[in-house]
């Protein structure tokens, strides 16, 4: 049940033009740095990326945006990226904005074999345009559908050779749920250990969801808002 691949290049094999990718991370926290950089070195283009955010100009998905490799972003918030704004205003990039919780639940539904479900988020707003709505117990809900991806690319703290993953702190975010919804899920980890070393009661992503795993290199883990307490 060994899912280990020898390199990031091997990990991203099979990703092709116009495919849909899910990419884990919240802001720059918990993003699959190695895989994104490797994709930026390829000529793959026309990608549809499902990711909560779109990186910054020179890091994260911003690298793929700069290369014009992304055709469409499906996200909840895409600020903090000047190149993104430029492409959007010029009509070079398509953007679909989805409420963050609905995005997370649509991804979960994709992994969980649930084609559609109802949520209150967005009712009465432009998010509801064209969507089926319905009342349950006196409250209005929108019907939302599952999201799937050709590849999901996630980043974990620790992983084992079977593909079991453990995330650290808020670097989990969209990684755990996206790992469930890719036809092929690629996991890059800071530390790769033999199966049996991780506590089976503490696994966030069971290996069944992961097809390829490798230990990433030289994590930069860039910080967007470095806020500190000044001790007096």
């Amino acid at each position: 049940m060994n899912k280990v691949v020898n390199s990031v290049e091997e990990a991203i094999q099979g990703i092709k033009d116009n495919m849909t990718l899910m990419v884990g991370g919240f802001g720059l926290c918990g993003i699959p740095e190695n895989s994104i950089k490797a994709l930026a070195k390829t000529n793959i283009k026309g990608l549809c990326c499902i990711s909560n955010n779109a990186g910054v100009d020179d890091f994260g998905l911003g690298l793929l945006l700069k290369n014009r490799q992304i055709r469409k972003m499906i996200s909840s918030y895409v600020g903090e990226n000047a190149e993104f704004e430029r492409q959007l205003l010029n009509g070079e990039l398509e953007v679909e904005l989805i409420p963050q919780g609905t995005l997370a639940e649509r991804v979960r539904a994709g992994g969980a074999g649930i084609p559609a479900f109802f949520v209150p988020a967005g009712y009465g707003t432009e998010v509801a345009n064209g969507k089926e709505f319905r009342e349950f117990d006196g409250k209005m809900y929108l019907m939302e559908t599952a999201l799937h991806a050709d590849f999901s690319i996630v980043k974990a703290w620790k992983g084992d050779t079977h593909g079991n993953l453990i995330y650290r702190h808020t670097a989990n975010n969209f990684n755990e749920v996206m790992a469930t919804a890719g036809k092929i899920t690629i996991a890059e980890v800071e530390e790769l250990v033999p199966a049996g070393e991780l506590d089976p009661n503490c696994i966030h992503t069971p290996g069944i969801f992961v097809q390829r795993i490798f230990q990433g290199k030289a994590y930069e883990k860039r910080i967007e808002q470095r806020t500190i307490t000044h001790n007096s």
């Binding site: 919240f26 802001g27 720059l28 926290c29 918990g30 909560n52 996200s75 909840s76 918030y77 895409v78 600020g79 704004e85 959007l88 205003l89 904005l97 409420p99 963050q100 919780g101 609905t102 995005l103 997370a104 639940e105 991804v107 979960r108 949520v119 209150p120 988020a121 967005g122 009712y123 009465g124 707003t125 432009e126 998010v127 703290w157 995330y167 650290r168 702190h169 808020t170 670097a171 989990n172 975010n173 969209f174 990684n175 755990e176 749920v177 966030h204 883990k221 860039r222 910080i223 967007e224 808002q225 470095r226 806020t227 500190i228 307490t229 001790n231």
Partner: protein, 217 residues
């Protein structure tokens, strides 16, 4: 005199009760954490996947894997827990968070809120705001009462909505308002701000009953 951001945050902190789980939005709401009384137990939820936000870290304790929904580096307190985004919003949508505090561009008499999009300006996205406002049991909005002299406390919102009929209370730089079936009920005024000034700054229906006390900041 109109309150500054920290004073608005300080006034909102008075709404937080012992035992509450609270989600603080970006901006003024984040400042509320600084004014929670030390004699009550409150746990702060961050929708990117944690319960138990602590203060900003010391310079040498900054951890890139530990941020809040505003992407600021933070710490965690004893009893904290981390989880993924789908679990985080299951928590929010399921009504488990006692109080949500967030900012707004406009609020209407019905409790509708507009906070994410200004036509003509670049749209960055709604983030988790639509999920929060559609699900929270109790929502308090922190905002400026007016913008360049124009009221933001309206009969109907003019900007694209974030959610409908959800806001319960508003704390602005000049007043505390409750959203009722009959309109905005004026509860308190900022120190030195007259009821007339609040009336003049409010486009939506304002209910003024009896003596309106000054906020205690």
């Amino acid at each position: 005199m109109a309150l500054d951001k920290n004073q608005i945050a300080k006034r909102i902190a008075q709404e937080i009760k012992d035992g509450y789980y609270v989600n603080l939005g970006i901006g003024i709401p984040t400042l509320v954490a600084n004014y929670i009384p030390s004699d009550i137990n409150v746990i702060l939820q961050s929708e990117n996947g944690m319960l138990g936000i602590g203060p900003f870290p010391a310079d040498d304790k900054v951890d890139a894997d530990l941020i809040n929904a505003g992407k600021q580096t933070i710490t965690y307190v004893d009893g904290a827990s981390f989880f993924d985004s789908s679990r985080s919003f299951a928590m929010i949508r399921g009504g488990h968070v006692d109080l949500t505090i967030l900012g707004a561009f406009e609020v209407s008499e019905q409790g509708d809120i507009a906070s994410w999009k200004v036509p003509g300006k670049l749209v960055k996205g709604m983030g988790g705001a639509m999920d929060l406002v559609s699900s929270a049991k109790n929502i308090i909005v922190a905002m400026q009462h007016t913008n360049k002299g124009q009221s933001k406390i309206l009969k109907e919102c003019t900007l694209p909505l974030t959610g409908v009929r959800c806001v319960k209370k508003i704390v602005t730089d000049i007043a505390v308002l409750e959203v009722t079936a009959d309109g905005f009920k004026l509860l308190e005024r900022a120190p030195g701000v007259s009821v007339e000034e609040i009336i003049n700054s409010t486009e939506g229906k304002l209910i003024v009953e009896g003596e309106i006390p000054e906020m205690k900041i």
